[in-house]
């Protein structure tokens, strides 16, 4: 009897990459977006080092100066350096963008999870309210909230503007998170947790919330882009950030329109800044979705 040789099988255990590395390798475009976001955050944080001039200093000797070595992006109708105002404007855009989307997404996630978990009549009432909010165009809802709340500036940021931009996101997040949470609620481990006598809040926060983290994070990033766009629109209408605070949308309104021909740089560069920021967050958000959970529809 011939001895049968047992073929040796070599397993190659896939090396576990660090999640950040994995994201960069799998989603190069997303990594590019992240890079731009990080660069913007750094520029905003160290605006006083990056910007060559003070964004508020008026210079009546140098009005509407075209781009040059001294003023890389020119000056505006008050002689303020456009480049410096864009750098400082990143502060406004990112602060409003992050804070309002954190506010809107978190509130939406809480409502969505609660709605799914309690179900029944609670769910029905919450969903009807969300329906009402969803039938307003975002900008109309934001404008209404701005008008109702007025201004309330804390630490140089208009808290009410953040609320106005965050509120329209709530129903959308609540919808998506609710549908994820509904699926999770039916899983056996929730029954097990309930059978073990855990309280509602423990089940919600320890068992359901961690499992809806993916849609929450994805929506959060996507809404930063929307928030930046919305803030720019509101400021452009004169109902968002107000002078003299540097903000991209504000730089496009007012005087910029009157100087179409003499000073096109006044309207070109702030718009490029808005587009680049929104582009970066969209790119990152899209890739994050593909990476974490491609089935989620925004």
């Amino acid at each position: 009897m011939a001895a049968t040789s047992i073929p040796t099988i070599t397993y190659r255990v896939p090396k576990r990459r660090h999640p950040v590395m994995d994201f960069i390798v799998n989603q190069p475009l997303g990594a590019l977006g992240l890079l731009v976001i990080i660069a913007m955050c750094l520029a905003a944080a160290f605006a006083n080092l990056v910007a060559p001039y003070d964004p508020l200093t008026l210079d009546y000797a140098g009005l509407l100066v075209p781009p040059s070595w001294a003023h890389p992006l020119g000056t505006d109708s008050f002689g303020r350096d456009v480049f410096s105002r864009i750098i400082y404007g990143a502060r406004t855009a990112l602060a409003v963008g992050f804070l309002s989307s954190i506010l809107g997404s978190t509130l939406g996630a809480i409502i969505g999870v609660a709605s799914a978990y309690f179900g029944g009549r609670t769910d029905l009432v919450i969903q009807r309210i969300m329906d009402v909010l969803l039938s307003f165009p975002i900008i109309v809802l934001a404008l209404t909230v701005v008008a109702v709340l007025g201004k309330n500036i804390v630490l140089g940021i208009d808290i009410n503007l953040i609320i106005a931009i965050g509120v329209p996101m709530v129903p959308k997040v609540a919808r998506v998170v609710r549908s994820s949470a509904l699926a999770i609620r039916e899983l056996p481990y929730i029954d097990a947790a309930r059978a073990a006598g855990f309280s509602h809040s423990r089940i919600i926060f320890r068992h359901i919330v961690p499992n809806v983290a993916a849609p929450y994070l994805i929506m959060l990033t996507a809404f930063v882009a929307q928030a930046i766009l919305l803030e720019a629109s509101l400021s452009f209408l004169g109902l968002g950030v107000t002078e003299p605070t540097p903000a991209w949308g504000l730089m496009l309104s007012g005087a910029a329109i009157d100087f179409y021909q003499q000073a096109p740089w006044m309207i070109i560069f702030p718009g490029v800044a808005i587009s680049l920021a929104v582009f970066a967050f969209n790119l990152f958000g899209d890739s994050l979705r593909d990476w974490l959970d491609p089935k989620i529809k925004l």
């Binding site: 009402v132 039938s135 404008l143 209404t144 209408l237 179409y260 309207i267 702030p270």
Partner: protein
Amino acid sequence: MIPTLLGVAILVFFLLRVMPGDIVEVMLLGEGGAVPQNVIEAERVRLGLDQPIYVQFFKWLAGVVQGDFGYSMWTGKPVAYEIGIRFELSLQVAVMATILAVLIALPLGTISAIFKDTWIDYTVRIVSIAGLAIPSFWLGMIIILLLITLFSWHPPLTFTPLFENPAANLAQLIWPALAVGYRYSAVATRMTRSSILEVLQEDYIRTARAKGVFERLVVTRHAMRNAMLPVVTVIGLEFAFLIGGLVVTEQVFNLNGIGKLFVQAMTRGDYTLVQALVLLVATFFIVVNFLIDLLYAALDPRIRYR
């Protein structure tokens, strides 16, 4: 449908009354002049603002149900008139933007899906991601800037109805439609692309190819038709919100439309006008949603509503 609209009506009515400073103050004290208290009170009585809020609400609601939206508190003209004279313009821009978007999105999205991961696909995707990022009001400014510098020509500022003088009408309105339509087409292109990619995985596509159907027919007959449902949804929903989206763009092109009216009414505290406009947009949204559901059944016979 009706409960949602009622919710919108209640929300908007009471939100506006929470607003600090009513229209009387904006109107009479706007220029910083001192106006005797009794004049202010008389004006409030005239506008019915002295009554308890719930009385105001039910009076207004009773009118709305009968199709009477009241009078603009600022101009004194009927709300229906104020909206009516501006509606045509906004609707036309919205419709033109939709046509542009559909004309661009369907072919581009399909081509991008067929040539997935080639340079054609990448170009289309970059163009459409850029469309989502570029604010339409800024694109509008750039369009005006280009028209001025390249052709030393500015779009006409006064509105001519389409059927009076189509050339003058289009010369004014095609630009805002383009500015709004770019973003719109970007949304629709992305949806078309992903929807077609999904459908191309289906078994019936493989069957069609296996039985020797021309690839062109596979795409147009088998893939595109089945991929249209989500695309129609996106186009419909975006159209419903387009009227709202025009708020900023109308400002750039100095168009006297619904969007501009809304901003004016909001800053003046013209309650009746804002209420009517919000209700109008919400109704529009809900009706479009309903129509999409109906269209679903027409496009896909498998869907039946009971």
